[in-house]
């Protein structure tokens, strides 16, 4: 069956699939039509109207994002009428937009600015109409600057339909239209999970992470401070994008060198802590199985997810593993174990994390995360903030030398690397749990069924003759499905991995702008390549982790572990 239609695009007769939009048809044939409200991973909105084109027989211009192609359609995308209209619409948006581009956080990667440049807009004739709204600084992680909002609705769309948290709304009407939490409340006054997906969705500088780079610079400058840094598993496959390099580059060595250039005293790896997490979490699962603890057990690595369950499903908190996230395990160990090994007093150690995540900022600041006697992690930076620090120092990422992580918290395994991808924690845990339970070597390390971008994945794994049913969910709308099935008693799983963001941490709210699902896929593939190429691919085989248990912790779930590496949760529902 031929599902193609014949259309004429700017005089070129072409054949395209019948179900696609004019925008998509143009894209496949060499024309990127302008767009602002359109996002490849979201529903079509057709709010901004900058993608309008002329279609023969239609009285008005039509939005190319929401108009499907039809057989015989004659489309023109660059007539004087289209050009004048599109330019005027952008001019109208700019008249209502603060002219602060040079000092804006999105300077350099603002989609509105890029569009204005692309259209050759040199003059804004429309009357400036910017109203001054106060900037919402109330959230501990995000800044909302309504003045820069162009009302495209992408943030609200991701908040409602990808995460189903739904705290951002478009309300009021006409020129008073405003996207913010309900009734104009501040971000801190609603149950935001700090996932930062709204930040990734925003085409301009209307919502962004709270920049903490100056705190890090100050610490580096301070001769009294021993500043160490940890890098989350997913940073090595995304940081290159901050320098315009393609997604899916594995740049571990360059990342280490870049951080050393910035002046960090030690470059450590969150992957080390991820291996520790598997030791603790795997044993917790085994213990729950043995002692009849609450099942299914839910993972706890993703702080946006923890914020979600604490605020929206507190009745299910007993299911959540008591393990801290790798970031926080690292922090607690840095100010105890590393302090002991290095002889540097904990009060002098300043822990910085490079995270793909805005919720990690919230997590680092939690009251519960002070088990070392100090704030375990002092500052959590996003990938974007690191990008900013590196660019400000003239870093040319592609020509950096290949560096090596430092001892004793720099060694890791392939199991830790894949923590950054949805399904990765599950796979890492299964590799260890299998071997611990059976005492046999696991022949095939890849658990294909828990990999990939499908929203909810499940698998049954045979361990020592008994089937263990597991599930993986990523993106909170999928987490919600799992939670509802647990609530209704239908979830007969033993272990469930949940990641707050689509694709897992590689798709986190702190990742480089332009994190589409296609890019997420590239980053995921890079992590699996990394895992495949590693010598050690099981957390319990990490020699540095073995040493940690031998010299310091004793055994998983032991007294020290319990104190430093485990936590508790509380009902924070509104």
């Amino acid at each position: 069956m031929n599902n193609n239609v014949e259309i004429t695009l700017n005089g070129n007769k072409i054949s395209v699939p019948a179900y696609i939009s004019i925008m998509e048809a143009a894209k496949r044939n060499g024309i990127n039509l302008p767009s602002l409200c359109h996002h490849p991973d979201q529903r079509v909105k057709a709010h901004c109207r900058v993608c309008v084109v002329e279609v023969e027989g239609r009285k008005n211009l039509v939005p190319s994002c929401s108009t499907q192609v039809a057989d015989g359609m004659v489309i023109k995308t660059n007539t004087a009428r289209v050009r004048e209209t599109v330019k005027t619409i952008v001019e109208l948006i700019l008249a209502d937009h603060p002219q602060e581009c040079l000092t804006c956080i999105r300077n350099g990667n603002c989609e509105l600015r890029q569009l204005s440049d692309k259209l050759g807009l040199t003059n804004i004739q429309a009357e400036p109409s910017v109203k001054r709204y106060p900037i919402d600084l109330s959230s501990s992680t995000l800044v909302r600057d309504n003045n820069k909002c162009i009302k495209c609705g992408r943030c609200a769309e991701v908040c409602h339909h990808v995460q189903e948290v739904g705290i951002l709304y478009s309300h009021n009407r006409s020129t008073e239209i405003c996207i913010s939490p309900e009734y104009g409340k501040k971000l801190s006054e609603v149950s935001c999970v700090h996932c930062g997906q709204c930040v990734l969705a925003c085409p301009v500088g209307a919502i962004y992470e709270k920049d903490e780079t100056s705190k890090v610079w100050d610490a580096i400058q301070d001769p009294e401070k021993h500043v160490i840094v940890q890098t989350a598993p997913s940073i090595r496959v995304s940081i290159a994008e901050e320098f315009g390099l393609p997604a899916g580059n594995v740049s571990t060595g360059k990342l280490v060198s870049a951080l050393r250039n910035l002046g960090f005293d030690k470059i450590f790896d969150t992957d080390f802590a991820a291996d520790v997490t598997i030791m603790e979490e795997g044993n917790e699962l085994l213990q729950r199985l043995k002692t009849g603890g609450t099942l299914p057990m839910l993972t706890s690595c993703s702080p946006g997810w923890i914020n979600y369950i604490e605020q929206y499903y507190p009745e299910l908190l007993a299911h959540v593993s008591s393990c801290k996230s790798p970031q926080q395990m690292f922090g607690a160990l840095a100010k105890t174990y590393y302090s002991k090994v290095s002889g540097i007093p904990a009060e002098k150690i300043f822990v910085v994390s490079i995270m793909p995540c805005t919720a990690k900022k919230y997590e680092a600041q939690r009251e519960e995360m002070r088990d070392s006697g100090f704030q375990d992690v002092d500052v959590a930076l996003t990938t974007r903030e690191l990008g900013r620090m590196l660019r400000s120092t003239g870093t040319d990422f592609s020509t950096l030398p290949e560096g090596q992580y430092d001892e004793p918290m720099g060694d890791s395994t392939g199991a830790a690397a894949i923590f950054g991808a949805t399904g990765g924690v599950m796979e890492a845990a299964l590799r260890t749990v299998y071997e611990v339970l059976t005492g046999e070597e696991l022949k095939k390390l890849e658990f294909e069924e828990v990999r990939g971008m499908e929203g909810v994945k499940s698998s049954t794994v045979d361990i020592a003759g008994s089937p263990v049913k597991v599930a993986v969910a990523h993106g909170l709308s999928n987490a919600k499905k799992i939670l509802e099935s647990i609530k209704s008693g239908k979830a007969d799983y033993t272990f469930i991995e949940v990641m707050c963001c689509p694709g897992g941490c590689i798709g986190g709210g702190g990742q480089p702008y332009g994190s589409t699902n296609a890019r997420r896929q590239e980053r995921i593939e890079a992590l699996y390549r990394l895992d495949k190429d590693m010598e050690l691919r099981k957390s319990h085989e990490n020699p540095a982790v073995k040493k940690l248990y031998d010299d310091f912790l004793g055994c998983p779930l032991g007294e020290t572990s319990h104190k430093l590496l485990h936590t508790h949760y509380s009902d924070r529902s509104a």
Binding site: V44, Q125, A126, E127
Partner: protein
């Protein structure tokens, strides 16, 4: 309205001074259309309405029979009918009169249309500002339910219709069908992307027939007297009659039922008695706030869908507002721009920002502080608004602006600052 009580040339036949009760309505042939329709195949009813050539009277003039057929043919576990009584177009008061004076004819029309479409549930979406019509309709629905013309197994047939009244909350935009649907569903009253059209996926995703009050009120007469009778009214291009809400600077303001083919001149001078003593017509606004401004020398155009489309006159809801020489065109246009600026949902850029700019620029003209460049900008923003807005609100908001640039350009030029160099004009 002064039509004789049962004139065969009219569809509506209502008198201001008469309180029409259900018995009188029955004596005048009321419900005979419903009785006969329920005995017919749905397709036959649809066929008759298609043959009548009835078009939507809310403003868009979409062929009513085709819409009916689309809902009838659409797949859906349930189907809905919605009577759009969100009469928000400024200067329009026809639906109010229908609801207060001949509610039974409207309800009979709704029931026949619902039967033909296969809809067994429905809403009457009445604007918030119409408390009296709402009360009257509530009462009429109750009476009809008691008399067996509405509700379960109407007139002993297998057909049932559960009709509810839904009160709008004051937004003009909710007259737009997708915004209306959003509003009934409890969402923000903003327009939605089409397709899917409400005929395929309307209220809660079910196929939904949405018709204007006036459109539906035509239906009992079409069924009762036959499509041939209906097509004998009006012209070859446009069948039937149109309710005209005549207001402004004219002697006999009011509501008139006018056969298609009547010229606007006749509407104003014969039905309306012409301008007030000692005054002359300067402009006529046709089609409400979203309509156009027409100068006196173009009033010979007849009220017909085809002719008006050619002449770029918007029949719209049938509002005709007369402006005499004392009226300031810019004042009138600015008033409407302010209206639309207030009623815009704000989600699309051309409407929201175009109206914002038009408001600023018109203020400048009215203060005689404008430049030629301002006129160029105002025209450009108007074009963009009309050409690229998401829904009919923004697209139509430019109608009066556009016609004012064309017919009343001098009024703009006269407000341009004197110091402007003369050569700029060329």
């Amino acid at each position: 309205m002064n039509n004789s009580a049962q004139n065969d040339k009219y569809v509506f036949n209502f008198n201001f001074d008469e309180y029409l009760d259900i018995e009188t309505y029955k004596q005048r042939g009321g419900f005979s259309a419903l009785e006969s329709a329920l005995k017919e195949e749905q397709d036959n009813v649809i066929k008759k309405i298609k043959q009548s050539g009835l078009k939507g009277r809310g403003g868009a003039a979409f062929p009513s029979g085709i819409k009916l057929e689309m809902v009838n043919r659409a797949e859906g576990a349930e189907k809905y009918i919605i009577c759009n009584a969100d009469e928000g177009e400024p200067g329009t008061f026809k639906d109010r009169f229908i609801m207060t004076h001949i509610p039974y004819q409207l309800l009979e029309g709704i029931t026949i249309a619902a039967y033909a479409a296969g809809a067994e549930k429905g809403f009457l979406y009445i604007r918030h500002e119409y408390p009296k019509p709402r009360k009257r309709m509530e009462q009429a629905i109750k009476e009809l339910e008691e008399a067996g013309y509405l509700g379960k197994n109407i007139l002993g047939s297998n057909f049932s219709l559960e009709l509810q009244i839904f009160s709008g909350a004051g937004s003009y935009l909710c007259g737009e069908e997708t915004a209306l649907l959003a509003s009934i569903e409890g969402k923000k009253g903003r327009p939605q992307i089409k397709p899917p059209f409400p005929t395929q996926s309307g209220y809660k995703g079910f196929p939904t027939l949405i018709h204007n009050v006036e459109t539906l009120t035509n239906i009992p007469k079409i069924i009762e007297k036959g499509p041939e009778w209906y097509t004998s009214l009006g012209t070859d291009d446009s069948h039937g009659t149109k309710l005209i809400s005549l207001s402004g600077d004219v002697k006999n303001r009011g509501l008139y039922e006018v056969p298609f083919g009547t010229s606007f001149h006749e509407i104003i001078y014969e039905y309306g008695g012409g301008p007030l003593e000692g005054h002359t017509v300067k402009a006529v606004n046709i089609g409400g706030a979203s309509g156009v401004l027409v100068p006196p020398d173009r009033l010979h155009v007849s009220l017909e869908y085809g002719t008006c489309a050619e002449e770029e006159i918007t029949i719209g809801s049938g509002a005709v507002f007369v402006l005499d020489e004392r009226r300031d065109i810019l004042d009138n246009v600015h008033n409407r721009v302010r209206f639309f600026l207030h009623e815009s949902c704000g989600k699309c850029t051309p409407c929201r920002e175009g109206l914002r700019q038009a408001n600023i620029l018109l203020e400048r003209f009215r203060n005689a502080e404008a430049s030629y460049n301002d006129l160029e900008k105002l025209e450009r923003y108007t074009r963009v608004m009309q050409d690229a807005s998401f829904c009919g609100l923004g697209q139509a908001a430019g109608n009066s602006l556009k016609t004012s640039f064309h017919y009343y350009r001098d009024e703009y030029i006269s407000k341009i600052r004197n110091e402007e160099p003369a050569e700029v004009i060329a």
